[in-house]
């Protein structure tokens, strides 16, 4: 599979072309070796943060927004979203409060990003 991406590791922003064959990645267009690391990370092991919004317990639409404390492998996005979807935090909620610790063993916590006063 071929993919193009822009390296974001320095302001030059090389346009990198990649060709993927199984676990091998051919990288072209990078002006320095760091571009290879960037492409390998981004194409073979991409990590992402994610955010969502869930209703406060006992309400239909008083929303608490959440995100992960750190990025996780991209494959975990939908399983983690499923775990978040059933959350119904109870007021009060503190910004930064951990709502699910080490979600699905990913090492990342699901944390509240908004304060809800009692």
């Amino acid at each position: 599979m071929n993919e193009r991406l822009t390296c974001v590791l320095c302001p030059i922003g090389c346009l990198i072309e990649t060709v993927r064959r199984g676990d091998d990645l051919e990288v072209r267009g990078n002006e320095c070796p760091k571009g290879v690391d960037f492409a390998v990370q981004e194409i073979l092991h991409p990590k992402r943060n994610l955010s969502a919004s869930v209703p406060l317990k006992g309400t239909a639409s008083r929303m608490v927004s959440v995100r992960l404390s750190q990025s996780v492998p991209r494959d975990l996005i939908f399983p983690i979203l499923d775990a978040i979807a059933v959350l119904r935090p109870e007021a009060p909620v503190r910004r930064g409060q951990i709502l699910i610790a080490d979600v699905l063993g990913s090492g990342a916590d699901v944390v509240a990003t908004r304060t809800i006063k009692p």
Partner: protein, 418 residues
């Protein structure tokens, strides 16, 4: 000109709008030693548009970490409260006069506020379908990307099952991912320009990650459906953005989002007599962010559209500091020179500079994506180059800055060439 029965208050500095720009402006004024700083926000909560931007990617420059919009809003509002800014939430400014009298409508009544200086920080609104003139029926299921974001993130509303997004602005890209997370199928994002108008990071993380197609040089030419959207017709466009006959294709969907641009919200500014720039849609300001109306300053999205909240905040801090200077009477020199937009530049800000000012920083955007670019600021009359930087790449979605080390004596021009 007091009206009978209305309260008249006086404050040294009044900030209109409690988003990041307004909060930072109030903080900037307090930090410059002004005791009496009032911030007026029509919403019940502070933070502005950030409250609905639950994704992360904010604050890298101000807080040195990436956080979500609500966290950014809370932190800045807490700073402002701790540092003694006076807040008036749930209060809307209805009118502003050139001599800085505000009419404010609040739950507890109507009042007049007289200000030593005013800082405009009202943010922006979204361009709508009517503004870009798409024909077709008017069924339910059509939203601007920002209002969809508000419904989904703050009100738990399910807006549809299958969506098409017109325009590749950042809000639209962020919403493509958000809808995907909510189980809504996004059939594609259509952009009339040959390049995406949002940040590349968002194209990658919001579309490519989920296999959502991005079709450039294409647009929606018709909307079908009686009560609810049932499909849209998309077509490719030529070099002058005109639909190419025969390229039409029907896409079934029950929801259409518009992410076709943001416009500074300047109704109040106009009432005060502030002159607006056709290039930015915001006020014409000098290097101190003061508009043509003495003592009225502008910052954030009401001045020009910022894609990064930190830049709106930094502009706010500066507006606060400059407004403090004005209130103290420490402002010199009124004669200004123009900063003109040259080759490949879409806009530049400030548009005027007080003669003799030194260390001025210009904000600018280019018209089209460019690589290996030289950006120059020169004196318009003599062509003398005052400063020049080389950049590897420049894209219209990223605002850039260039600093002029020497003092400015004559009209300037900024150009970019490959």
């Amino acid at each position: 000109m007091t009206e009978t029965g209305t309260v008249v208050e006086r404050h040294d500095i009044v900030v209109i709008g409690g988003g990041p720009a307004g909060l930072a402006a109030a903080l900037g004024a307090r930090r410059a030693g002004i005791d009496d700083v009032l911030l007026i926000e029509r919403d019940r909560v502070l933070g502005g548009i950030l409250n609905q931007c639950i994704h992360d990617g904010f604050g890298l420059f101000l807080y040195k970490e990436t956080i979500s919009g609500p966290e950014y809003a809370e932190r800045l509002a807490e700073d402002a409260a701790r540092e003694g800014v006076i807040f008036h939430t749930g209060a809307m400014v209805l009118d502003l006069s050139p001599d800085r009298v505000l009419r404010v409508n609040a739950a507890d009544g109507y009042r007049l506020v007289r200000a030593g200086a005013v800082i405009l920080a009202m943010g922006c609104r979204e361009r709508t379908r009517d503004m870009i003139g798409i024909p077709g029926t008017r069924p339910a299921g059509i939203f601007t990307a920002g209002s969809a974001q508000n419904m989904v993130n703050l009100h738990n509303l399910k807006i549809g099952r299958e969506a098409v997004i017109l325009g590749s602005g950042d809000v639209g890209l962020i919403m493509a991912r958000r809808l995907t997370f909510e189980g809504i199928k996004v059939r594609g994002v259509f952009e009339i320009l040959p390049w995406p108008s949002g940040l590349e990071r968002n194209v990658r993380q919001c579309l490519q990650d989920f296999g959502i197609p991005l079709e450039l040089s294409s647009t929606v030419v018709d909307i079908r459906g009686r009560d609810r959207v049932s499909s849209v017709i998309v077509a490719r466009v030529d070099g002058s953005s005109r639909p190419i006959p025969g390229s039409e294709r029907e896409i079934a969907c029950d929801t259409l989002l518009f992410s076709v641009g943001l416009i500074p919200e300047n109704e109040l500014s106009k009432r005060a007599g502030v002159v607006l720039s056709p290039l930015t849609g915001g006020a014409v300001v000098d290097e101190t962010l003061m508009t043509g109306v003495p003592g009225v300053f502008s910052c954030g999205n009401v001045l020009h559209i910022h894609d990064v909240a930190d830049w709106a905040s930094f502009e706010g801090f500066e507006a606060g500091r400059r407004a403090a200077e004005f209130v103290r009477g420490r402002r010199s020199g009124a004669e200004t020179v123009e900063v003109r937009v040259g080759e490949n530049i879409r806009y530049v800000l400030p548009q005027i500079v007080r003669r003799g000012a030194s260390g001025v920083t210009l904000n600018f955007r280019v018209r089209r994506p460019m690589r290996s670019v030289a950006v120059e600021v020169r004196e318009a009359a003599s062509d003398r180059i005052l400063t020049r930087v080389k950049l590897y790449r420049l894209i219209p979605s990223e605002m850039r800055q260039i600093r002029i080390p020497t003092s400015v004596e004559d009209a300037l021009e900024i150009v970019a060439h490959e």
